[in-house]
Amino acid sequence: MNTSHFFVTGDPMIYGADVSIVLVTIAIIFYLSYFKKWGWLWREWITTVDHKRIGIMYLLASLLMLFRGGVDAILMRLQLAVPNSHFLASEHYNEIFTTHGTIMILFMAMPFMFALFNMVVPLQIGARDVAYPFLNAVSFWLFFIGAMLFNISFVIGGSASAGWLSYPPLSESQFSPGPGQNFWIWGIQISGIGSLATGINFIVTILKMRTPSMRLRDMPLFTWSVLSSSIAILGAFPILTVSLVMLTIDRLFGGHFFTMDGGGNPMMWVNLIWMWGHPEVYIVVLPAFGVFSEVVANFSKKRIFGYGSMVFSMIAISVVSYFTWVHHFFTMGAGADVNIVFAICTMIIAIPTGVKIFNWIFTMYRGRITVTQPLLWFYAFVPTFLVGGATGVMLAAAPADYQYHNSYFLIAHFHQVLIGGVVFGYLAGLYYWWPKLFGFKLNERLGKWAFWLWQIGFYVCFMPQYALGFMGMTRRIYTYNATMGWDMGWAPLNFISTVGAFLMGIGFIFQAWQIIYSIKHGERDVTGDAWDGRTLEWSIPSPPPVYNFAILPDVKGRDSWWYQKQEMKNGTYQEQPVKYEPIHMPKNSGIPFIMSGFWFVAGFGFTFEWMWMGVVGLIGVVLTLFARSFQYDTDYYISVEEIERTEKALAQKRYASVQRTAN
């Protein structure tokens, strides 16, 4: 392989990126050395197996990726704002939209989702950890390393430019030579393995680690949503892994799975990638549904309406989502009968989705609604998702899709559901559970600014794109000429859409500011129950101690913390005598990090087709696994005295603050 372009050259923006990467790296290294933080970083974070910390690391990484993906989006919108723009050259534009799509789905939405899984699920089910804490750390570091590998492609070697789904033959070595496409494959492959492991981990966690008194039908809906999403991961991600291996064989070893010229077939890739890709969109949206279920019930001060049909519809969605993938290529000529079947299956998905919306709305009925930041995002979600779902049903009408497919109408649809559903949902979750993890709330005023900027920006950006679809504008064009811009009417709408993108960008800046500001000035919460919550996570202090629950909670049905509080108020609550027992916990380990480092070496080697390096990396991976299997001293017990000490300190902190507010 020609590596004369190892460092990407020739574009001032890339040089800018080079410089800023170097500067940020130096700054971080300086900071850590000057304040002697290396040991702390290693002990407290890099080697941690605590699900709460892993959740926080996922969150940080995904916010970073949201920033990166957002910058990409704004660059693209800038390029399209006016006809005949020369801001980005074609190849650069193609690299950017490929990166944008890949990052947003795989390196922003997925880790954000895993952040919520990790931050919330064990606390909601009264568990002290996830089922496989070590594997959990491995998953995180695989995701992180995969994301980094994918990210450096911009400055080293060049990025993929065949789209986030990389249809062959365009993504085969004949049309996409060079390391870019390999970066895409290996970045996703490595992080994908981590995602699969997380899915397994949370299925087992939910099924096996619940506090003994919690039956499945007592589980909060967020936990249910995580379970259904994880089951979908279990089905979908192996397909992705295998497809990527097949593409690797095509590219690296001259295989012909997806090229016709050896008897392969590109249509096979399109089918495979959507057999993963369609469930994937539901994988990311189900947990958002879970968040909304918690948020709307909590802030309406009511039980969720129709719990049973909520659970049923989530399971239905995760099952039916496997029978819709062909709607992504109705126009590939599978035939009328196939199109009809998949059109109807797709529409069927809209039914349980619609039912959920009804149930949320009727949760508000006869409630007492307080409009807080998490609820605001729920309010924003309802209309957006109604419209997004409706345009989805429109797309599902196969012959009509012949007109929408690959047009800006499609772009508008999936952003409507992905931003309006997934991003709004995760943000609602972030605002909701932030005080649990960090012990303070995020500032309301800045949050409201961010919220409105996002809302307005969202509609200004995407509504015109529906119209652009009807005007015949196709996706992924890096430029359009004056005729199309003015005579066909594309230019004004594109310009407006760009304005909207900027508004959302400013909204994001407000959120970053909000977080930084609130670290210092945010409203502290020492009650552990910042929102007067209903579920178990609110029954313990914020932030929770390492072991979460000193004593495994005893639940009597759904919303048990809510009812316990009521009993406490009425004086009917019977305090159980406290008797601590030593708590069994996993020990920290550096192996997940080191192993992922070897994965990086392997991925980097295969990306540049330096087989020796790839093999060295893989050997390293095997050796670290080997080393792990000889570690016997992997757990420890927290003694009763220590638990007593911790609990007492936490209680005192709480008491002191109650005193303070009382005065």
Partner: protein
């Protein structure tokens, strides 16, 4: 803060107004302004789906807004509060039921239209065949009946069903002429059929819809629908005045490049079939969505059985 929100609301309305105004000229919405029976049927389905969705969305939105206001926790709000009310079989039956009915109705329309579009839009006129090849980054049209070829524009007779037969000599693309009807993929090694028809003469915008790399954005072309007479005259003119497309000429054309509109008085025999075979068609017999392709092969130069090995 409330001032900020006021301002935000105002600017939102202003922008919304702009969007609506700039959309006043509805001839620009070419998908909604079809000029032939295929686009027309698709538009009908679009309208039906919009209406059906609106039946659900609008009341739901109204209820949502009403509840959000009615049950807000503020001083003096004496709306009933029933924290334990979480179940109603009647309501649940209603909202499982309504979407099911709506989807059933839409499903029937969808199925009908899907089947209808596999057949020529009108039965009593003899169809024309136009073969379409997408390349990096241009479109080639070959006319088996007239034995002429064009690049980056197509000419068709109005009022006549056209069977476009699609393939690709490059990564897969998608052939889309919104005012005539929806798109269909062009794939290397395969040939696929798409029925379109223009009822009115005119020049229609067409483009490649599926991303194919660097020059993709420039893959736009015109489809000129003219009367049958003019069509014949045009073909004769091309036969007389344009150069021939040789095998070597084709190979050069197929290399990645951008070109303007071109016409050729002839092209190598079986060019389209050889493109399909060269790209892997030899391994497959792939002719889905061809509708009644049998009647096609009787009357056109394109014999689908060729790929049957």
């Amino acid at each position: 803060m409330s001032k900020g929100i006021q301002f935000a609301k105002f600017s939102f309305l202003a922008l919304l107004g702009m969007v609506l105004l700039s959309g006043c000229d509805n001839s620009k919405y070419i998908v909604l302004d079809p000029k032939g029976p295929v686009g027309q049927q698709e538009l009908h389905l679009i309208i039906i789906s919009v209406i059906l969705c609106a039946i659900v969305i609008i009341p739901v939105l109204a209820i949502f807004v009403y509840f959000a206001i009615r049950y807000r926790d503020k001083q003096g709000n004496n709306a009933p509060y029933q924290p334990e009310w979480d179940d109603s079989k009647v309501l649940e039956v209603v909202w499982w039921g309504i979407p099911i009915v709506i989807i059933a109705v839409l499903g029937v329309f969808t199925a009908k239209t899907t089947l209808a579009l596999t057949k020529p839009p009108v039965k009593d006129v003899k169809p024309v065949v136009v073969q379409v090849t997408s390349m990096d980054w241009k479109w080639m049209f070959t006319y088996p009946d007239k034995k002429v070829a064009t690049v980056n524009y197509a000419e068709i007779p109005a009022g006549v069903p056209v069977q476009f037969i699609l393939t690709s000599d490059a990564p897969m693309n998608s052939f889309w002429v919104p005012q005539l009807g929806g798109q269909e993929y062009t794939m290397p090694g395969m040939s696929m059929g798409l029925w379109l028809q223009a009822d009115k003469t005119g020049t229609y915008f067409g483009s490649g819809a599926n991303f194919t790399g660097k020059g993709f954005a420039h893959m736009q072309f015109k489809v000129k629908a003219v009367t049958q007479d003019e069509f014949n005259k045009w073909a004769d003119g091309v036969k007389k005045n344009s150069p021939a497309l040789t095998k070597a000429g084709y190979d050069k054309l197929a290399k990645p490049s951008l070109v303007k509109e071109l016409s050729y008085s002839s092209y190598p025999n079986g060019l389209f079939e050889s493109i399909v075979d060269k790209n892997g068609g030899k391994y497959y017999h792939h002719m889905s969505n061809m509708g009644d392709s049998k009647s096609m092969s009787d009357m056109s130069g394109m014999d689908m059985k060729k790929h049957d090995n």
